[in-house]
């Protein structure tokens, strides 16, 4: 599974990504941004983020599949 990762040391907690999230998946609590399971990986927040704090990451399993392997290292 892919997911959106938040780089806490880059994020400025502006909450702007919340505006473009059509899944209501992003919550900003003071200085902590969380993306929950409602996320459909549309990538809008990643494109939006003024400072590049959000990135789409693939988990090991997904990368394994892409390579045609079983995902087991």
């Amino acid at each position: 599974m892919s997911r959106i990762a938040v780089e806490g040391e880059i994020c400025g907690y502006c909450g702007g990504c919340v505006i473009v999230c059509h899944d209501d998946a992003i919550t900003l609590q003071e200085v902590q941004l969380t993306i929950d399971e409602k996320c459909t990986l549309c990538n809008a927040c990643v494109v939006f983020c003024p400072v590049g704090a959000l990135t789409m990451v693939e988990t090991m399993e997904e990368r394994g599949k892409a390579n045609g392997s079983t995902g087991v290292p």
Binding site: C14, G15, V18, I19, V20, V51
Partner: protein, 398 residues
């Protein structure tokens, strides 16, 4: 659990919109609570810090020089070709210290009788037959506040909005992504706002230099993330700063998102009213929103006072606020949103031609003229005549 606290109105968010709404409510004798999730009202800043002129701001608060950086007398516009267009508008606005300004507004609300809680984060809202229960995490304790009306002035975090069931998420073409450095060592005139345009500077938006004091200025930009071509807002800003102010250093980093999609269909639901950025009450062309937030704070406050008097806070009753906002800005902002979408399609050469044309159109006018429907319509017409891809619009209703 029985509520321990009981208010007529709870205002969520102590920015300019929330504090103005709270003051309007408290001033009319409404028992009001203003909650702010941060420990310090006004920080961190998410704003270019330009507001309206003294005459406009004085309608909302006594001007205190401690939060005024500069009065603005002139605008310099730089289209991509490098020409400078000058608009001389004496005292057309101010650059302010939002940290102090927001605090001053919240203090006014408190002085008028509103209770203020800081470090108070709303964790949820529930409807009951008597009204709304607002669940608040305040200084490490869970508190429940019963309210008849909730004002959502929580900015782009949209907590109240979502709970009220008003859909506000926007596509990438309807938001601006913005970033700003307050920079030291920025030379230039101190009563002049500078704006830079162009697809390599800030695609779909603009870059600004707003003077503060002692050689510092807010240097920032807003752009359309739909047009940024793989580079982030901060990359565009860093490139500009490296070119124009290589010796400067930044003393803070400011960022944010601006809802520039234009007016929402509704700003109310039963017992809930949205104010300011939470209600997308931002000029969809300039992306300015502070005066709007205060204006709508007053509007919302007045409508709620009336609704409470009649003991009816239903959406139908509160729609009076929708109508007032629509009368004030609906047509103008829909046209501004359209202008912004046209602006997205301009090449740098188009922008240069438009700049020349605008210089003629602006000459001899005062700044208030520029915020009229008539002026916006004339710009749409100019663009339609000048720019081949818009020629199909000429003759049609603008």
């Amino acid at each position: 659990m029985r509520p321990i606290f009981s208010y007529d109105a709870v205002v969520v968010g102590a920015g300019p919109g929330g504090s103005t709404a709270a003051r309007t409510l408290a001033g009319a004798g409404v028992k009001t609570l203003l909650v702010e999730k941060r420990q310090e009202i006004g920080a961190a800043v998410r704003c270019g810090e330009v507001v309206g002129p003294r005459s406009v701001m004085a309608r909302f608060i006594d001007i205190d020089e401690s939060w005024v950086y500069q009065d603005i007398d002139e605008l310099w516009l730089f289209p991509p070709g490098g020409r400078r267009l000058t608009a001389h508008f004496p005292r057309c606005g101010m650059v302010v210290d939002r940290k102090r300004f927001d605090k001053a507004l919240a203090i006014e609300a408190a002085r008028t009788g509103a209770d203020v809680w800081t470090k108070a984060r709303v964790t949820g809202l529930t409807r009951t037959p008597e009204g709304i229960r607002v669940h608040i995490r305040h200084l490490g304790e869970d508190r429940t506040v019963s309210a008849r009306v909730v004002v959502g002035a929580d900015g782009v975090e949209f907590l109240v909005v979502r709970w009220a069931g008003i859909r506000t998420a926007l596509g990438l073409a309807r938001v601006f992504s913005a970033v700003q450095y307050p920079l030291t060592g920025v030379e230039g005139p101190s009563h002049t706002l500078r704006f830079y345009f162009g697809n390599t500077v800030a695609p779909g938006g603009y870059l600004w230099i707003f003077p503060k004091t002692g050689g510092t200025a807010n240097v920032g930009l807003c752009l359309s993330p739909a047009l940024q071509k793989g580079r982030r807002a901060v990359d565009y800003l860093d490139a500009f700063v490296a070119r124009h102010f290589p010796a400067s250093s930044s003393v803070e980093m400011v960022m944010g998102g601006i809802p520039v999609g234009g007016p929402l269909k509704t700003l109310v639901s039963d017992g809930v009213v949205l104010v300011g950025d939470a209600g997308h009450q931002v000029n969809p062309l300039s992306a300015g929103g502070i005066v709007n937030a205060m204006e709508t704070g007053v509007m919302a406050g007045e409508v709620i006072v009336e609704a409470l008097k009649r003991n009816d806070v239903s959406a139908q009753r509160l729609e009076a606020y929708d109508r007032r906002w629509n009368d004030r800005a609906g047509n103008l902002y829909r046209l501004h949103a359209r202008l912004r979408r046209m602006y997205y399609k301009l090449s740098d050469a188009d922008l240069d031609r438009l700049g020349d044309r605008l210089e003629e159109q602006v000459r001899g006018r005062n700044p208030d003229d520029l915020y009229t429907f008539g002026f916006a319509a004339s710009v749409v017409r100019s663009m339609a005549w000048m720019i081949p891809k818009f020629r199909f619009m000429v003759g049609k209703e603008t």
